[in-house]
């Protein structure tokens, strides 16, 4: 599979990272023991992303209690870029403190993706929005 992706002619459109995450998405599916979800849709392009989070507490380096993303999963209806971006986002967020996860930006995800075609950049924002909504829903419940 990796060879196919490396030699793939779509490489001018999608980077190796994007194709790899589209073909083998990480953290895909429902998270059974989640304690919050966030869903965002883009009405104009029709994409829908759903992020499931299991938020837990741990002691950080300074010995303080902090909340962090213990586990994360996603479901996406959308194009290859939307799927890949969701997968990349879950990797970026997993294990991060909630505080840090909230700070993940479009630029961070674009960097992980190795870039996206200009028309696809809105896809990356949708994932971040879904993550932030999930965190907000968790905080609102507290």
């Amino acid at each position: 599979m990796r060879d196919v992706i490396n030699n793939y002619r779509f490489k001018d459109m999608y980077t190796k990272q994007v194709l790899e995450h589209f073909r083998n998405p990480r953290n895909l599916g429902k998270l059974k023991n989640h304690n919050t979800v966030g869903q965002e849709g883009n009405p104009s392009c029709g994409d829908v992303m759903k992020i499931y989070l299991k938020i837990d507490s741990r002691k950080n380096k300074e010995g303080k209690i902090e909340e962090y993303i213990k586990d994360i999963k996603f479901e996406t209806l959308g194009c290859a870029a939307a799927i890949a971006v969701s997968s990349l986002l879950t990797e970026a967020a997993k294990g991060k403190s909630v505080l840090e996860a909230k700070k993940i930006t479009k630029e961070d995800i674009l960097k992980d993706a190795g870039g996206l075609p200009p028309a696809k950049i809105h896809c990356s924002m949708l994932g971040i929005d879904a993550l932030r909504t999930a965190i907000k829903n968790y905080e609102d419940k507290k």
């Binding site: 196919v4 793939y8 779509f10 589209f22 073909r23 998405p25 895909l28 869903q39 849709g41 883009n42 104009s44 392009c45 029709g46 994409d47 829908v48 992303m49 759903k50 479901e75 996406t76 209806l77 959308g78 194009c79 290859a80 870029a81 939307a82 799927i83 075609p117 028309a119 696809k120 809105h122």
Partner: protein, 403 residues
């Protein structure tokens, strides 16, 4: 393994076509307008191709204008006609009509005139849910100053065959009425026949069209060549200027190898038309049947009885088209999609939306376009792979979006 099911995008150059073209690159390279023997050799070949094209269209060779492609043919037909009527006739405000499902090469000409020419009024005729132009609405939209109706022969996305002969009847009726009223407004009929040429008769006398566009690379000819049929006495003005080639309608050194290829391709298309219609219809029907049998929630966009034999445009609810296309491509299967995500804009296919198909379904549309070289085995394999691909993509979607 590679399976090509995107023949509406382009077709391979037929070997016979390539063979016919070959001498006209390096050996008989002359400029067809030169008087010397080099030019004459090229000129003879062009004349021969013009006659083959005329045979295909059942028209006079003088009525054939070679262009760089169907886009240019459409532009000359629409912009050239409006320019000629404005300059030569001084008719004041004129009205032109097209459909909502045209190829951008027609639609954007109309939109350009609508935005930039105060003399031109434009109407777009809607289609029914099967993607066929609404004849009643068309008839009602014709005004006393309507000078052009442009409706495609076969839609490129769905394959829906448009009722050209019925449109001709409406036009003839209008013209008779105008003759009685001594109207100063002529009425012309243009059709973009690019997607029809492989399977449907393009006899311009039967179709009763004044202008008809064709493309080389959709009929197993080369890219960069097209044809505009211009019926004698049709008022038309050039949209580009230069050396007066093609009766001044399309200036520019003649693309001799392209023209030779076009002529040869149309000759072959005419000979194979009926046989191909039968053969490709059967394959396409098999594809639709197998998809329906094996893939739940798949919907054919269009009426199977009224679409080109090559076409099957199918929506797979809950599976975004570009994702399906890309996955199929990894499997060696080439298709196309109505999804916005493959087009660079956010809006899905204007054709599917015009048919009243919800945007969500339009995003999940895959266009399969077959040809005579495809086989039953290929179609069976495609359905097997497609079934797995659609299922993988559907599984990724959240429940709420699946509905």
């Amino acid at each position: 393994m590679k399976i090509y099911l995107d023949h509406s995008a382009t077709t391979p150059v037929d070997e016979k076509v390539l063979k016919a073209m070959n001498p006209y690159f390096s050996e008989k390279f002359g400029n067809a307008t030169s008087i010397h023997m080099f030019g004459q050799a090229a000129s003879v070949a062009v004349q021969n191709a013009r006659e083959n094209t005329a045979l295909f269209l059942s028209c006079d060779p003088k009525e054939v204008v070679f262009t760089s492609g169907a886009t240019e043919a459409n532009n000359i037909a629409i912009l050239g006609l409006v320019r000629a009527l404005e300059t030569k006739r001084g008719l004041g405000k004129i009205h032109i009509i097209t459909s909502t499902i045209e190829h951008p090469a027609v639609l954007e000409c109309f939109q350009f005139l609508e935005r930039n020419n105060d003399n031109v009024e434009v109407d777009y005729i809607p289609v029914d849910k099967e993607g066929v132009v609404d004849l009643d609405k068309l008839e009602k939209k014709i005004k006393e100053n309507t000078v052009l109706i442009s409706v495609m022969y076969v839609n490129n996305e769905t394959g829906a065959v448009q009722p050209l002969e019925k449109i001709s009847e409406i036009i003839e009726k209008t013209k008779e009425k105008r003759a009685q009223e001594n109207s100063k407004f002529p009425l012309y009929f243009h059709t973009d026949a690019v997607q029809a040429a492989n399977f449907f008769s393009c006899n311009v006398k039967n179709l009763k069209v004044d202008l008809l566009s064709l493309s080389g690379h959709k009929v197993y000819g080369p890219k960069g060549i097209g044809v505009l049929f211009v019926k004698e006495k049709t008022l038309l003005m050039a949209v580009q200027f230069g050396g007066h080639q093609e009766r001044g309608l399309r200036s520019g050194t003649l693309n001799v190898p392209g023209i030779v290829g076009m002529g040869e391709a149309l000759l072959l298309a005419k000979g194979q038309r009926k046989e191909n219609f039968e053969k490709v219809s059967k394959l396409r029907d098999l594809l639709i049947e197998e998809v329906k049998k094996n893939i739940p929630k798949s919907v054919l966009n269009g009426d199977q009885k009224n679409i080109s034999p090559s076409h099957a445009n199918i929506s797979f609810e809950g599976a975004e088209g570009e994702a399906v296309l890309l996955d199929l491509d990894f499997e060696g299967i080439a298709v196309s999609t109505g999804s916005a995500c493959a087009s660079g804009s956010l809006k899905p296919s204007h054709v599917l939306l015009a048919m009243g198909i919800p945007s969500k379904e339009a995003h999940s549309a895959i266009r399969f376009t077959l040809d005579k070289e495809n086989t039953k085995e290929e179609i069976e394999l495609v359905v097997k792979k497609l079934s797995a691909v659609v299922s993988r993509i559907r599984k990724m979607a959240p429940e709420i979006a699946k509905k």
